[in-house]
């Protein structure tokens, strides 16, 4: 899907040096520590990382959904078609949610209001943002439910969330996100709570809608296979930073950061059958007390003195790839590596 000329136009979404802190009872936790991202119309960007890496916080910050306090955006810019969202008054910013950007959540059951029929929850977008009548909003809701392939939409429009299966509920959440034809769709672990077979259907639906509407899609996940299937570009996050980014296929087959290398290796595959599944030793750093140097250094087999001394910045490598590693040239391609 990716297209080099697209990427050279003003990107749809640009995130520059975003920093978010949380005040906790134990002190200040740095959840996002200088994140840079860029998504163009029609492009899909995967954000890959383990829990606590800051990927969900990044998504919520973009959508303006952080609870402040305890969270605080301490620096950076979020540009939607060049307009800095962080400098907008909160009401104006809120009004962009729905028509300009939208979000799909991880757990559809808790993301839907249990006491309202689903049709009303979808139709509410048309009523609030476009001033539709009750009847027109209901018709629009049925049409959307049809488009996300919910069977017998017109008879199910008055049903409540608990009357649907997990996959159908996620389709309703997607219908809600797509309602006003947003330019940017952020999906935060949209398939994590679903069965494997349903996962594939939901991903196919997201992909299809993204292509059809020429939307920018940000797909947040901890699942490499999801990134591989759906996204053109990927940004790998670790301890609140993007440590590597570039075209998905290249990043996953020839990682230029030891962490990405470790992630790619830890996925079960045919050739690993019978042997122990490799895992990255150690655990991510304490966000309350980040190390002075590279956050991954204590788990890294390539780490040197330099890595502990200062933080490697995200550096362009050409071919729209970038990495934040001093030793990126020593990272072996995944396919060539064997145990």
């Amino acid at each position: 899907m990716s297209n080099q000329t697209d990427a050279q136009q003003t990107p749809l979404l640009q995130v520059h040096d975003l920093r978010v802190e949380f005040s906790t009872s134990q002190g200040i936790a740095t959840a996002i520590n200088g994140v840079d991202l860029s998504v163009s119309a029609g492009q899909s960007l995967g954000i890959l990382g383990e829990s606590g890496s800051g990927k969900s916080v990044t998504a919520r910050t973009i959508m303006g959904l952080l609870d402040t306090p305890p969270a605080r955006v301490v620096g950076g810019q979020i540009l939607l078609e060049g307009e800095d969202l962080l400098s907008l008054p909160s009401k104006v910013r809120r009004s962009l949610n729905g028509p300009r950007m939208a979000m799909v959540f991880q757990d559809a059951l808790s993301a839907l209001n249990p006491v309202h029929p689903v049709g009303r929850q979808i139709g509410e977008l048309f009523r609030v943002h476009r001033g539709y009548s009750r009847a027109a909003a209901k018709r629009a809701a049925i049409e959307l439910m049809d488009r996300v392939k919910i069977p017998a939409a017109s008879s199910r429009v008055n049903d409540y969330p608990h009357q649907f299966s997990g996959g159908m509920r996620q389709r309703i959440v997607i219908a809600m996100a797509l309602a006003l034809d947003p330019q940017l769709l952020i999906a935060d672990e949209p398939t994590t709570a679903l069965d494997v077979t349903v996962q594939a259907q939901i991903l196919a639906l997201l992909k299809e809608q993204q292509v059809e509407r020429n939307m920018g899609l940000v797909l947040i996940t901890h699942d490499i296979s999801v990134v591989r299937e759906v996204t053109d570009h990927v940004a790998v996050m670790y301890a609140g930073r993007v440590v590597e980014q570039g075209p998905t296929a290249q990043v996953l087959s020839a990682p230029r950061h030891p962490y990405t290398r470790g992630l790619a290796e830890s996925v079960a595959s045919e050739e690993l059958k019978g042997s122990r599944l490799p895992a990255i030793p150690g655990s991510p750093p304490d966000l309350l007390n980040l190390p002075m140097g590279c956050s991954f250094a204590n788990r890294c087999w390539l780490a040197t003195e330099e890595c502990n001394g200062r933080v490697p910045t995200l550096t362009e490598l050409g071919e729209s790839r970038a990495t934040a590693c001093f030793h990126h040239e020593e990272v072996q391609p995944y396919a060539a590596h064997s145990r």
Binding site: M63, A102, N113, V115, E124, V128, M176
Partner: protein
């Protein structure tokens, strides 16, 4: 739906049997003899006492007495007192005053409790919330009769805004002060429950979805948060109305309101078992009916438990 209601009504029967059995047994075990309590210092001749005891089946074994009583109850007959007056009539005579007091108190409580609770919940953690918390703890801590006597002395005697006692002024003036006293005490619990429930709901994922849909804060609170926050509150409100009917005894005594509570207390003193058991049975019935109504209303606001 009809099947559900019918099933629930049938379920009431064992509960009613169990509750009345316990009350009946307790009355039976009350110390003192009802006949001697009736005659006081001038004892009746042996033969007359024996005749009265037989007329009221007082010498029958406990279970036979209870069985006779329950047969009557299921025919709508609550028995008679020692002056031959039907117990049902006595209760019905006293019920309107208690009902007026309890309903007035309940409505006042609803307003006071919900307003303080919603306000505290929305300003969660701010000064107004702390103030509401102090208010509720204060009124939960002070015993009801202290507030009642204080209010009676100040508003009734000192300021003379209302009659200090009695029901001569009729509804609402005669009931407003006792009802307010009951309401303020009960509102504290309601306010705390409402506040906690709302604070919980405000953290819910679906409110984050509402923000992601670009809804205004007002719409999020009124359209999405409050109805969910009311789910536990409705249960509490329904049951508390039944509780207020039974719990008005002290307030009725202080404000001299001729209600069920006063009748209950005097019957216990006079060892008039039929009236005590009659009132208790009636209150158990009211409680069960309210319980059913609550469960039916519950389905209206929470579709997940709809029957």
């Amino acid at each position: 739906m009809m099947g559900y209601v019918l099933r629930r009504i049938l379920q009431m029967i064992p509960v009613l049997l169990g509750a009345t059995f316990i009350i009946y047994a307790l009355t039976f075990l009350m110390p003192g003899d009802p006949i001697s309590a009736l005659t006081g210092e001038r004892p009746l001749p042996e033969a007359t006492v024996a005749q009265i005891r037989q007329a009221y089946h007082l010498d029958d074994p406990f279970l036979i007495q209870y069985g006779n009583y329950m047969l009557g109850v299921f025919r709508g007959d609550f028995g008679i007192d020692f002056f031959g007056r039907p117990v049902m009539g006595l209760i019905l005579e006293r019920l309107p005053a208690t009902f007026a007091l309890a309903m007035t108190a309940w409505v006042l409580k609803l307003f006071i409790g919900l307003i303080i609770g919603v306000y505290g919940g929305l300003r969660h953690g701010k000064a107004a919330d702390h103030f509401a918390l102090v208010f509720t703890v204060l009124f939960m801590g002070i015993p009801g009769f202290v507030i009642a006597l204080g209010a009676q002395t100040y508003f009734g005697v000192h300021l003379g805004w209302v009659d200090p006692a009695g029901v001569r002024a009729g509804w609402p003036m005669a009931f407003i002060l006792p009802a307010l006293v009951m309401a303020i005490e009960a509102a504290a619990g309601l306010a705390r429950l409402t506040r906690t429930s709302l604070v919980d709901v405000l953290r819910a994922e679906y409110l984050r979805t509402a923000k992601a849909k670009g809804l205004s804060d007002q719409r999020i609170i009124w359209g999405h948060a409050l109805r969910n926050a009311m789910i536990p509150v409705v249960t509490y409100l329904g049951l508390s109305l039944a509780g207020m009917l039974g719990g008005a005894v002290i307030i009725e005594a202080i404000f001299n309101i001729p209600g069920i509570g006063g009748l209950m207390v005097s019957s216990i003193n006079n060892k008039e078992g039929t009236i005590v058991v009659g009132i208790a049975t009636m209150l158990v019935l009211v409680y069960l009916v309210f319980n059913l109504l609550v469960d039916l209303t519950y389905g209206l606001i929470d579709p997940r438990v709809r029957v």
